[in-house]
Symmetry: C2
Subunit: 506 residues, 2 copies
Amino acid sequence: MPVTTMLDLPLVLLSNRGPVSFDRGTSGRTVIRGAGGLVSALSGLAEHLDDAVWVCGAATEEDTVVASEAEGGSILVQTSPSPHVVVGEPDGPAIRVRLVITDPGAYADFYSVWSNPILWFVQHGLYGRALSPVITQAEHDAFENGYAAVNQVYAEAVADEVHARGGKALVLLQDYHFYLVAERVRELCPDVVLTHFVHIPWPSPDEWRVLPTGIRERLLRGLMGSDVVGFHTRRYARNFVLCAQELLGLDVDLDNLEITIGNRTVRARYYPISVDTAALEATLTTEEVAAHVAILRYAFLDGDRQLVLRVDRTDPSKNVVRGFLAFGTLLDQHPELVGKVSFLALMQPSRTDVPEYADYIALIGAVVAEINARHTKDGQQPIDLRMAEDFALAVAAYSICDVIMVNALADGMNLVTKEVAVVNRRGGVLTLSENAGAHEELGEYAVTLHPFDVQQMADALYEALTMPVEERYRRLAAAAEQVRTHDLSRWLGEQMDDLTRLSGLF
Amino acid sequence: MPVTTMLDLPLVLLSNRGPVSFDRGTSGRTVIRGAGGLVSALSGLAEHLDDAVWVCGAATEEDTVVASEAEGGSILVQTSPSPHVVVGEPDGPAIRVRLVITDPGAYADFYSVWSNPILWFVQHGLYGRALSPVITQAEHDAFENGYAAVNQVYAEAVADEVHARGGKALVLLQDYHFYLVAERVRELCPDVVLTHFVHIPWPSPDEWRVLPTGIRERLLRGLMGSDVVGFHTRRYARNFVLCAQELLGLDVDLDNLEITIGNRTVRARYYPISVDTAALEATLTTEEVAAHVAILRYAFLDGDRQLVLRVDRTDPSKNVVRGFLAFGTLLDQHPELVGKVSFLALMQPSRTDVPEYADYIALIGAVVAEINARHTKDGQQPIDLRMAEDFALAVAAYSICDVIMVNALADGMNLVTKEVAVVNRRGGVLTLSENAGAHEELGEYAVTLHPFDVQQMADALYEALTMPVEERYRRLAAAAEQVRTHDLSRWLGEQMDDLTRLSGLF
């Protein structure tokens, strides 16, 4: 990995969920590796550096036991061939991890009141402002005793690790759980080089005005402790700079996306996150995927039939309901497609303890039933809705779909689009929301969806399904090339390159 | 009026509702003068100019008869002493009016689908985007055959009046009903000097993304036909320039709020609208108001009791529900105020044919009942909710309230605040939303409300109710001075001054 030699500084990472977690079974303690692209990318970085530590939350009961045994310090976990806690020297790649224990009540306020849903809702524009949010003393208390308190604990853990390395380190903070950490770490360790990466959308100042003045200002000032605040797209980075100007009254340079605070410069930058293309291609060749492909072909693709696919969490931001309404409109307006086109929706139920999410699942079911009742032909239902999480099944479906639908209201990046671009083998057409981060990169190869406009989405699906085959393959190849040449390691590499370039300026 | 001599150009005004309307009773045709500050201000302007015409919609059956008799031309209406249509020369102030007839179906789509609620909802940030809006073919058709078609008819009427004046005129277009008019008028009459004034908030680009791409671009391009686009506040003007940059890709100068389109410059300017202070003071001295004052004093102000007031339409943007929740929280947390403080709410039912508005009224009733049930003491209900429109009653209440609550989620200006500042005689405290346009001007004299934060609003009410008397009178006097020196004629005068200054540049 070319990124490992940058800056010549020790590395301190922070994210809410870490690279490993612990469980206790009948045969003793086991190590579970974290899932997802971000963990893979950052693990790769941490494994290859001489001196790196990953600060994260103790997520399981056994994590808490491990953290207690370490007495607040870090442990070394060898990640392969078989993951285990190392005593002495590892004989394979290893990651140093510091598991942070926080008060369960404070963590609940931090995670289940503020991070999700409040910050998530604000940043994805999900509040119907006529009636929500209603900020009461309970929310103020949850901010103070939850979000702020937990951020404080994590900031001290990060600072502790920086101090253990002589006070100089590269600090990489991740996501919306930790907006107050950078400022505090900088107070405690003025010599750090600090990047905070935000993985979800950053909306305009008006959207942030939904939060109490004092709280939104603290969140923004917290981030100003960074040298670089990273986003997926230029639009988010620009919105962040506009927030600094309009909500904090700071001097900004909108063209260069820079903010002046005191004698420091905070830079907003954008690095579109991506997928691990090699890992994806490897998954595609597994027997499990092949078996799924055979079954899916039989179910959806005999003769000249076509398949529309979506793979999403059941989050209102994903815009599942309007997506089905658009498909229903397509069948209404093009009856020749009834019986010819199926819509497979692989949905992962999400945050079902939040009322808005539970209601949203019910509405999805209602809309699907209505459309299936209207358009079932020869016993064939047009929509196959599956509530399940199965990555092998998803990859199989990616590889053979004719159209992938990504119509999010707002989406930091949306990796499904990039995954399909890499593994689809059928000239699959990307239909992609203008409000998904991926649209800045892949919009020119996609059919753009307007997420609030059901008629436009129906028209776009029709365009995709009837696109000449050569054009389909041409666009898919171009999108795949874009993703392959801008994969996950490049996402990290560009950040490291920028930090190296900028580090003379800090 | 100093504004009448500017520019030496004939004047063509456009607004949806005009300065006069016609009715037919048993004694024949009658003339009804339009209500409201805007009509007064622009009528004053039109009456004093040698050559002015006001284009507006035929609103009543009799308007349509009058318009038909005029065969598409204009009529001259003497406005005092007794309003009547003039044949020959008027012997008093008169306004030339052109009543425009449009197809009723097109008008319904223009007014009841697009202007209200869609544009109103977008510009006040009222959509809960998870589920609304859902733009279908019906909304696209209503835009094309309603909003765009009606705008075209009005643009042609305006252009017709400009051509009748030799092709050169000052054209003043009003509000969100006519975003497509300026561009068309400029095509037809390249030599006009054209201002479009937007009376409601202008939100950030992200909020406009709720509308279909093609439609939002057409609305913005429509406005680009103006020389000046006027708003109430700097924030709205800035958002407009950001929209031109982000949504249309035009070159802009954010510091000077200017947009370059082709070889023209479009200037965003802000002129905070105000009230007619003399008319208000006159109303305050009427017997009707005095009678109301006596009754209100008896009902709400015996002994050391205090009165909180709000006067609003029942529009979700006014944030009535959270306002009552905040008052309930105040009484929960300060039981010593129960029985000492009343909340009089004078509400005008509004747009009750729109489901969201009808539901909102029901919710207001529910919240009031709940709080009154919880806090009624000695037979005294804390909240007196009156669904009625009575300007004399409102002015009476303005004059004697201890606190006026204006907690709108979003509000172009909010004139209630300014009216209270002028007529209150009790050291009334302005509690004012940071999202009301009036906050840019009067925020320093007010107690700021954060409209989503019920606890903060409860605290703000407490601060207002317990503010030392001298401080109350000091702030009120300063606010009143600000309004008196920035009244309605100044609003219009500054626009005229700017146009005179800029006209060399057009």
